[in-house]
Subunit: 431 residues, 2 copies
């Protein structure tokens, strides 16, 4: 890793402006070596980082404390402060993540779609790194380790641009990454941490198509919308998660209750949280009273259509805007529909193509819902809060993509790779 | 298909400006029906188009003649005129293409990466259409049929924007597509042909992210560079094809000669044509005299480095610019290198990551070249002119992508699709 600010500078000093073009050039250069790094060297680097994280815990927390003091002085809210903190548990989780990624199979170099053509030549596709990946993220310093680990394992060079509020934490984590790379004999520029507060650096990073192959922004919708407007480099991005659960006429009442409660209340702030509940009219009177009681008891505010309010008068009146809103809060919109088609239409019109679920015991309804709902994840009899790469068996995730091209839904190591065609023959000619 | 200009208007009349937003909205609507169209209906539509193409050959050629007359009057060069012409052979080729695509397996709905998670839920990926695809192309009217067929087979709605010089041909081909869709009961808006000469329409098409999921530009580098600068919709694009053949020290002389000659002379104008030949110094004196004689006899101009000129004095002197140039002409740059590494470095520095080949009998050199050269296609003992979806067994291709994300190299039906995650359980909950 290369630090682009001097880490032994006093806390209030402004780091120098960084030459982002030079940084890109060095990342591109390092990516050539990383492409051919062995799986063993990559794993060794990750394990070395895990050990150093734990060995240097006290020093790391001292640097983190500087950020926490500054953040408190700047009036950051408690939730932000919590995200910024490198607690013992947060450090242990980062180290465990490094070990887990080290233990995963190397995605690079595997062959697929192998075939022999009529002229005898062999055609296959080989999995290869994307090249140079830029990660732009907000306050959580653990992203520095998690993102670096995934990019390194997948053979990419990485440019990390964290939030200025985590400056000292990120410099300290960057030093650990740097040592781990050196331990394994991997190039120092394979991971570069940009700590300049200059916002123009981000603008340069997302337009530098010559040196950066893809940007993964991690943060709120504001950040991502702004980057998407400026970017010329492709983004693997996450926009809205306006997720639906549809309780079909043929739903099992107990499953429907438990799935809806879990989908809404597992965690309110995650992108897979249910934001609108759709209920088939034939089952509404059976399911809604008990379900509403549970949700209200858990402090969820219900906003219903007129027909659901006729069953549960405590509901507020839902506005058309509610159907479009990702609340990320203990608020749920509720609508009664007459048919499966109406449910599918509602999701097509108001949804965000993230994660949507049906609860039903009717196989045909399940199959139609799964085929016709055009979301990155479509579930049968499962709560939408399962939207997570670990739950899908990806081992780790860099984020959830709401793009349609390339990686869609939870993005694991494969999403940070691409394919090349490899052909071999014995002098076959064309024409 | 919906025609957006009245086809029975006099030839010199300017078609009305088209409401591109409305066209996008209708494409999005049609894409919902196309997503669920059966493989049988899609194949039936393609076969109906093939029959109607042949049945209406005379009428089609009459419309084509109007474009040819206008083009001649406007002084189009003979090569452009040839591309514009719908000869008997061109029509038969289009019909055969439709039949071939009809016979291919439906890519939509297949499941892959199926696994059962520890909690018993099933996770899989389902192949689904991209949605709405825009095709922007130049004079060849056959693209209207070929692109419509591939997009239709892959379950997408399509907006086709051809060159104004092919206006009447495209309107007539559009009418045939329209009839074929109606024959199969597929929505009329599944394929829309834009024939407005208004260039602003293209600017609108490539920025309308709400209604268009991807644009495939087919044309020269000028068109593609211009679109890439304007686009907000992702492009599956083709830039340079600066392809290399490297003759290794351990090459078989006969294979090396034949592969290099085929790579250069199969067709000069294709993106897979070899533009630079790299030769290992140990074999240069053995291979270059005979190879140069063959190429010179075929009218190829050779531009060599000083060391190759010492062997073949008839060569002109290559400039650094020659290493970077995609000649698309009977011109070849020649350079002698001392090692495999130098060859790989040359390709990394000057190449365009399109298609590059090694000629060698040394397995280790072949493996290193194939692993370390970061091009979308890397060959061993094959000429670069094999860069073509048909040759790779894709059955058909929409183009060759020089992108790194999503589709890379020859793009077949799969490149016009994406995946969604489909999960099924029995009420498993999270946390």
């Amino acid at each position: 890793m290369t630090l682009n600010t001097a880490s032994n500078r006093p806390a209030n000093d402004t780091p120098d402006a960084v030459d982002i073009t030079d940084l890109g050039r060095r990342a591109r250069q390092a990516s050539r070596a990383m492409r051919n790094a062995s799986g063993q060297d990559k794993s060794f680097a990750l394990l070395a980082m895990a050990r150093r994280l734990q060995a240097q815990q006290a020093a790391l927390q001292a640097e983190n404390a500087r950020d926490l003091v500054a953040a408190e002085k700047n009036g950051l809210d408690p939730a932000m402060l919590e995200r910024l903190q490198l607690s013992d548990k947060a450090i242990a989780t980062m180290a465990a993540g490094l070990e887990q990624i080290a233990a995963m199979p190397d995605p690079i170099g595997s062959l697929s779609a192998t075939q022999i053509r009529p002229n005898g030549m062999r055609v296959a596709q080989m999995r290869v790194p994307l090249g140079v990946i830029g990660i732009i993220y907000e306050s959580r310093p653990n992203v520095t380790i998690d993102a670096a680990a995934l990019c390194l394992k997948s053979g990419n060079a990485t440019i990390l641009r964290g939030g200025s509020e985590a400056l000292h934490s990120n410099i300290a984590l960057g030093a650990i990454i740097s040592q781990g790379l050196a331990d394994a004999g991997l190039p120092a520029d394979a991971v570069q941490v940009v700590t300049t507060p200059d916002r123009a650096a981000v603008g340069q990073l997302v337009t530098m198509t010559e040196y950066v192959d893809v940007i993964v922004p991690r943060g709120g919708k504001g950040l991502i919308t702004r980057l998407a407007a400026e970017a010329r480099v492709p983004l693997i991005k996450h926009l809205d998660g306006n997720c639906h659960v549809y309780i079909d006429a043929a739903a099992d009442l107990q499953k429907a209750h438990d799935i809806a409660v879990n989908a809404k209340t597992y965690r309110y702030g995650i992108c897979g949280a249910m934001e609108t509940l759709l209920v088939h009219t034939d089952i509404a009177e059976q399911i809604l009273p008990r379900l509403a009681a549970t949700l209200i008891a858990k402090g969820v505010e219900l906003r219903g259509c007129e027909r659901s309010r006729a069953i549960i008068p405590q509901m507020l009146t839902a506005t058309p805007e509610d159907w479009e809103t990702e609340f990320l809060a203990p608020i749920l919109a509720v609508r009664i529909v007459d048919t499966l088609d109406q449910a599918i239409d509602h999701i097509a019109r108001y949804g965000s193509e993230h994660t949507d679920a049906i609860v039903t015991e009717n196989l045909q309804a399940a199959a139609r819902f799964q085929r016709e709902v055009d979301s990155s994840s479509v579930y049968v009899n499962l709560p939408t809060c399962f939207a997570d790469g670990y739950e899908y068996g990806l081992g780790a995730e860099i984020g959830i993509s709401t793009n349609r091209l390339h990686a869609r839904g939870p993005v694991g190591l494969e999403g940070l790779t691409t394919m090349k065609w490899v052909l071999a023959g014995e002098g076959q000619l064309r024409g």
